[in-house]
Symmetry: D2
Subunit: 306 residues, 4 copies
């Protein structure tokens, strides 16, 4: 299998792919894409079989670029997920001292996660946005950057040969980012008992109580939601779709039946994959909603109908 | 087919069977049973193929004897329903005058439907309960009755040769009783598009919100309830089951899926039949819940799974 | 206070009043009414201050006569409840032997609770309905009854000087009847922490999901229902109101707010009283729904508004 | 009143403030802040009385920086809203030709709204992130920018004296951004009948069905949600709060009662203001949920309690 990731080298995303592959050669052969949409396009075009992209950060929330790129164009399928603790360093070319820093380059998501540290240690520093945290480091290494230092992953400082002026500068020490490996549809991993299913739900129209109706389709089948995010459909102000993760796998009866219900009551449902949870925590399924309960109930229905 | 009914001759139930059969010979050949449980037992024992029994009155509510007899022992299946407007007369043997009436015999349900008239016209008359309205008339005809007059159907006065002292004495002129024809299971009538399905639902335990959970199984499939009655299970004070009618037929997808859901979340579900509505009013099925919507959604699910 | 009950002497209802009063003189002074509506009318007319009537049996369900009489005419208020275990005996005048019994007199509710015993011991005996179980016993004592033996309470056999041919003949040994003491409105007992509130709810029209909407008014305030029964309104077939008991007292915030919600969404709400539970079981109120939670939330709302 | 906005001059936010003020002198006196958090901090510190900030875009969704800054620190209060259609131009210093463009500077939200045009017209151009669209234009005007052209508002091109190389280059011609004027609490505008209320809801814990429970607090009071967005609380992966807009005003009964309910069942509720809708569309309030319905129901409750 050929892999790709939202690059350049030194990003947290590359770290996530490293964890997933557990193999230095495969990582070295992976393709770095400049943007999330480009990475997903690479899968669609068949350049690679799967790409690693960030989808959700415990501090910043959903990664809009990924959520929107997954929602549009041909459907893709999530193959798995990786959780990576997020640690930031302040990196600089050799010779730069903290006292002389006037400008700081980094990605906007990283910037908002180090604001507390910056307010205390570099209150006068101006912020310069970059395409990614690794791009900020790379810019310093290449020279000609419009900022003095970069906020990036420890790996990026190492990769690009920068000095670390300060370590672990994130405001939230337990920050974590969730990455997903995205491939083409038709490759649904086998159920493990500890699976997640990702869906995008479009309401028929913006009618009062509409979201309540969607959530009841899950509740009626004993299904727990672990994530719900709204994203605009772009059609009009106030027109939203919902990106959700539920505990369970496409192959399970309760998930299948909920999908049938959602498909009926939604304007559209996009299935983005069933895959093992990174934390391997098994789904808590009530006895009234496991596959045995469905098998029994369906057998009873058949007996009534014949 | 051999038919029976909750008799004797002259009851509203016989009138219901007459409407159902539309054939004097078949009616004449039908067996009259002394009680509702005896009538249902006659079906279970194979003495007759189907019996007509009252199930619900627009003034008095559910007929407990019928609801409880349907819930217990081997399941039976409702084949159809008949609505009969209820009109009461005051009937007496020849020679009895209204002014001399001291005691009135009738079934307790009939008595509570003529109380207003009695309070105005015979305020001093004492009530004597009988097994049915027709039994009250029959008792007068046979002699030896412990009451002077009977409250019964016009037909009963005719059948038993009694005089009608007063006509149309019911307090509610639009009173209607619903009768059902009950047979053995395995004889589910074909769907007509205007069908009703009757169920008995037993909760797993008396937990708060339990009924809400059952009703959501219907709501999630776009199914309308036309009747809901609670009946004690007999297990303990406060232990109830629910007798419900829903718009739709066992053969329809939304009803089948709701049954699967109920079977899962209930301690027990008893299917008592799908049959054409007496009023032939077609079910109002949202476009998101008709068979085409289910077929489309199931096809989509299959495509995801393969 | 002057008391009354659904008589005659020897009924389970008199036993319930005896338990409530705990005082032989007061019991002796109590007025026996021939029917439940007559008893309630006695309260409305001011003949007595409160009457004891049966409202619910663990085997037979709600007592229609009581539920309907409470729903109609001027509102009354339940002051308290009593639970009485139901034990039936077969009583006969001196000299009657079991082998010679051909006919059995009793109230129809009692008859359906001894059917199993009758089927085993007196399979050929015919049933003769009476106005109450005590009336059956009284008829035998007075002579001229149209039946040989009576099914009644042990007390009735004693009161009317009958022999007991068989003891404890009920099919369900744990059968219990709930009685309520009904007075005029304006006498709401103080809250005890273990209270019940009885309501009758009328839907605005028979719209799909209507009952679900009513139940959500309770759920949104963390209120548990301990009883729900449907009763026809009499307006038309399928037009029902709901008689419900909830855990809590009118004086409690969550009950008050639920009443405000129900009054808004219902065509009518009838408040039939808040009173201590017979079993003194305290209501399980979530911390989010007790009076302190409401007081805190209301104080917060006031602070926002000013 | 002193006003501020998320600057610099030439942003869509300044355009929104211009619409709100309708007065060139007041606009000229307004303070431009470099970031949304800085603008809100300016209000908290009393430097200005109110600031205009973007909150929601019909294509990009919620503006995280604003949502998060409103959720944290001392509460602020939204005073009103403005809707501004979003039109982008490609702006360049005099002499630059489209054919020679290699790099494009703009804010990341703007970049994702012109991707289609870029893919067609400048497929080779690299993206350079800037702090805002106006900052991109300003950079070109000041010289020394690391990009050749800017994507910005027509106003920004005008303000900074740039040439417009291409007009109306947004992929979605009906894109709109919603801006809110934020002040200190205690300044709730009067109800107009066409109002919106903005809240942030924190669940007690991440329990299954928790969101359903929150939504039911609105449904039970007949309240419509016009926006629901999840935002991470930062506490842990999967820990979300919900930012919602509802139709109605703090002074209205149904909104007040829903707030009481939410305050009870939520870990925290943040009230961010009630204010007139920009589109002046009156709330559709069911007759069962308007102030008259509440007044009637409360009067009835009082009559029961006394």
């Amino acid at each position: 299998m050929r892999h790709g990731y939202f690059g350049p080298r030194g990003t947290f995303t590359q770290m996530a792919l490293a964890r997933w592959l557990g193999d230095d050669d495969a990582l070295a052969a992976a393709t770095a894409y400049a943007t999330v949409p480009a990475a997903l396009e690479g899968v669609r075009a068949g350049e690679v079989d799967a790409v690693m992209v960030p989808i959700e950060n415990s501090v910043e929330g959903g990664v809009s670029a990924t959520l929107d790129a997954l929602n549009s164009a041909d459907p893709l399928a999530i193959q798995g997920e990786v959780l990576v603790p997020i640690t930031f360093v302040l990196a600089a070319p050799g010779g730069v001292e903290l006292a002389s820093v006037r400008t700081v380059g980094t990605h906007s998501h990283a910037w908002s996660q180090v604001r507390g540290w910056m307010a205390r240690e570099l209150p006068e520093a101006a912020y310069v946005p970059t395409l990614s945290t690794a791009a900020a480091a790379e810019g310093l290494a290449e020279g000609g950057a419009t900022y003095d230092v970069a906020v990036c992953a420890p790996l990026a400082a190492e990769v690009f040969g920068l000095d670390v002026l300060a370590d672990d500068i994130g405001d939230n020490r337990s920050a974590v980012t969730r990455f997903v490996l995205v491939g083409r549809p038709g490759q649904v991993p086998e159920p493990t008992g500890a699976d997640k299913t990702t869906l995008v739900l479009y309401q028929h129209e913006d009618h009062p109580g509409g979201l309540l109706e969607l959530l009841e389709q899950f509740a009626a089948r004993g299904i727990n939601l672990s994530r719900l995010e709204s994203r605009p459909t772009g059609a009009a102000m106030g027109s939203y779709c919902f990106s959700v993760d539920v505990d369970g796998h496409l192959a399970e009866e309760r998930v299948g039946e909920a999908l049938v219900g959602l498909r009926r009551v939604c304007a559209d449902v996009r299935f983005l994959g069933s895959y093992p949870r990174a934390d391997a925590r098994r789904a808590q399924v009530p006895a009234t909603a496991d596959d045995a309960a469905y098998a029994d109930a369906r057998a009873w229905l058949r007996s009534l109908r014949t």
